[in-house]
Symmetry: C2
Subunit: 454 residues, 2 copies
């Protein structure tokens, strides 16, 4: 017997604790929306309402929902083998994927360690960096540097290098100590600089830290070009170029968390390419399966790999990390088909007109009285809303501006899930120029409904 | 063009860093085995060799490889919707799964928080327990108690509560402090007791800790009945029954990590049922998808849930944890079909003769001169090998006993991946009694090849 909507909502609220959700807010008119199916850029609810998935379902979807080729690749793999232990055993799809990743990044990185999600990819990176120094004659290099406003995941190691107080403050006593460097937040520069004329004062702060403490620093972890969950904060690629030089100078590992930016979100395979550098470790996840299921990987260099490549008597040089589903054939078969499709699409060229279209459609937002900053990096656009354009005074948490716009967006057929006081667009790549226009019109209407531009 | 085996192995070694693996050991005759397909309890390599998957591919597989019904359920879900953001949105399979889980455990637990793997399920449990006290008027309850020889995963939070030195020692400075209680390791009782006559001296040690420090203790985390990765250490259910009483007496949360034991591995849905207790939080993963793909959940009570159910002004009471693929419809659709199949099989009854058969076949091992202990808990059997049966002197790491038997097992057609000095059998549930006989004959031969029972 099919359940009706009311019954389903009641059962959802009774049994499920949703992520990043104050469940009490689901009372009243904020009930969870029951999604029935998805196709392309749209998801459809139980009542037949369609929504443009403008957040790519938490930044994962790239080729649209329920892609026929990916569905078939998944089923084919299931009929062959769904999973096999990945220690002592391997399989052809995993070899193919690892090889493709290394070749696609031009051999910048050399070795692929698979895990399950962005958080675990970061945990692997941190543990690898830490252990690397421990068995390379520098056990004193134990500390990590991370940036204010950064977000790297929700497991304790990932939270330790996070810099968003709302998410992390309560767990402080469980976290390991890090050294926090300022956020390269150009719109609200902590050093009072302007983007156009800045000399990377924020990076100078990193250099000061390195200069003082490099003997004890294992690595620095950053989100490349965009501090996403911190509020879609975007910064100059030169920051990364210069940071690489500092890491070389002070013997600090450069850990690049490409979980949200990887797989062409910024217009290039990995965001670090914009800066013409090579990190020591990168973390990838989300888009690697085009939005289908969890899979992640941590890629690193020969230098790091070789420090673990040693049969010592007590086995202590081994990297003892793994998850049951490491190297899962189902996820990997989707990733392989995804990379094949992206290649066939000539994805970098394919995205260019879409990036331009977003850019063009964003123009009108700049004139809105509550729009403080309009930012774009490839296929990510963000609009920071402010109470006062002149003073940049932000809205407070209790103003619930983002939430109000989100609710208007739903009525108009788009998921405009806010990031603090930012509206943002991070859509599947297959969105057409016409659909970009449609989406930004919805956003404009929703914005003006909540904050009339009188 | 199809690649040949040699080429695939070379590429595997060049590009892939395998979990829990000293990559240098893959030199020589220990090359990874390339698995081509799987069916039932068997996996088959590229040369057509078949192996009984006696470790259920890291303890995940329950219904055999490439199960037709699960494959179809997966494909059907992919054609409907492969994934959707799980904040603000929900879907019928997730509601169905959460409801089933709660009903199957007789409403012992009430709320389901989904995540991706065992490590994250544990991290969620720890963060939940910690934050619970912080917002229930006891912010001083910050510490966790965990057991020697325990294993709860590889992310920093999970490693912090781990007690296997080989895996965790190197990361010590990154871990949060815990209070370690002794392992309830009956064969090597740290208090010199014998299983038959013991009065749970190991639990008295926990009481001493609680008595002294309960004001500062948030929770205790245990693996129920079996400390699996610590060496398939098995202990009495009374330990759990009495521990529940201590937790009540001293106001300490009981966190039960059912990742490896859940979903009938011990003969019951969850291992805590054997002890007639209800934990405050349980973590489940592995078998929830019958071995198909990563999915986990943390289940808890009304008491804990309600401490987060509050719209405070600054949003700080919310549980800020989530992964992009939380509530993934693909994984959840498999889990739903899995539970349906288990129910149709009348799984508890179905397993009984198999458990007995294992028990019977294990008998002969007891007489082997290097078998120190033979243990069984439902569908898990373990054989602890010793250098000297009288003194219980263990083999050393460099004896590589487990590895030698593993290699013999492969030749004979079974995956006997060791756990330290333990041989163990943890097979898919669909293994027949005849196949159990076959498997244990292989194990017997492999054991006697390496350690002749002269």
């Amino acid at each position: 017997m099919k359940k009706n909507k009311q019954q389903l909502i009641e059962e959802d609220l009774k049994y499920i604790w949703h992520p990043f959700t104050q469940m009490k807010r689901y009372e009243g008119d904020e009930k969870p929306i029951i999604i029935k199916k998805g196709k392309g850029i749209y998801i459809e609810d139980i009542d037949g309402n369609k929504y443009i998935d403008a957040v790519s379902s938490w930044w994962v979807n790239t080729l649209g929902h329920s892609n026929k080729r990916l569905n078939k690749a998944l089923y084919k793999q299931a009929k062959t083998i769904e999973h096999v232990i990945f220690a002592g055993f391997t399989h052809e799809p995993a070899i193919k994927l690892a090889k493709s990743l290394i070749e696609m990044c031009n051999n910048d990185l050399k070795h692929v360690f698979f895990s399950d999600n962005g958080s675990t990819a970061v945990e692997v990176a941190l543990k690898m960096a830490y252990q690397y120094w421990a068995q390379s004659g520098h056990p004193e290099k134990k500390k990590f540097v991370a940036l204010k406003n950064s977000y790297h995941g929700d497991t304790i190691g990932a939270v330790s290098v996070g810099g968003v107080d709302l998410y992390h403050k309560v767990y402080k006593p469980l976290l390991f100590d890090i050294i926090q460097a300022p956020s390269p937040y150009c719109y609200r520069c902590p050093f009072g600089c302007e983007k156009e004329t800045c000399q990377l004062a924020c990076l100078k702060a990193v250099e000061d830290i390195f200069e003082k403490e490099h003997q004890n620093i294992a690595g620095i972890i950053i989100e490349p070009l965009v501090q996403a969950a911190g509020g879609m904060i975007m910064y100059k690629k030169e920051y990364m170029t210069e940071l690489r030089k500092l890491c070389d100078k002070y013997n600090v590992l450069f850990i690049d968390d490409e979980v949200a930016m990887g797989f062409y979100r910024t217009g290039k395979l990995f965001a670090y390419e914009h800066a013409n550098i090579v990190p020591d470790i990168i973390c990838v996840a989300k888009g690697i399966t085009a939005g289908y299921m969890p899979l992640s990987a941590t890629l690193t260099t020969d230098k790091i790999y070789n420090a673990f490549y040693d049969v010592d008597e007590d086995g202590l040089k081994t990297f003892y990390h793994g998850h049951s589903y490491t190297g899962n054939p189902l996820a990997i078969s989707i990733a392989c088909e995804n990379l094949k499709i992206l290649k066939e699409m000539n994805i970098e060229e394919y995205l260019k007109p879409k990036i331009q279209k977003f850019s063009k459609e964003l123009e009108k937002f700049k004139k809105h009285k509550n729009v403080g900053d309009v930012r774009q990096c490839g296929m990510i656009c963000a609009i920071e809303l402010v109470k006062n354009k002149a003073t940049k005074e932000p809205f407070s948490y209790s103003d619930e501006i983002g939430k109000k716009i989100y609710k208007e967006g739903l009525k108009l057929g788009a998921i405009l899930r806010p990031m603090h006081n930012c509206m943002y667009f991070l859509t599947p790549y297959i969105i057409t120029e016409k659909e970009i226009e449609k989406l930004l019109n919805i956003a404009w209407k929703a914005l003006n409904k909540v904050l009339p531009n009188e």
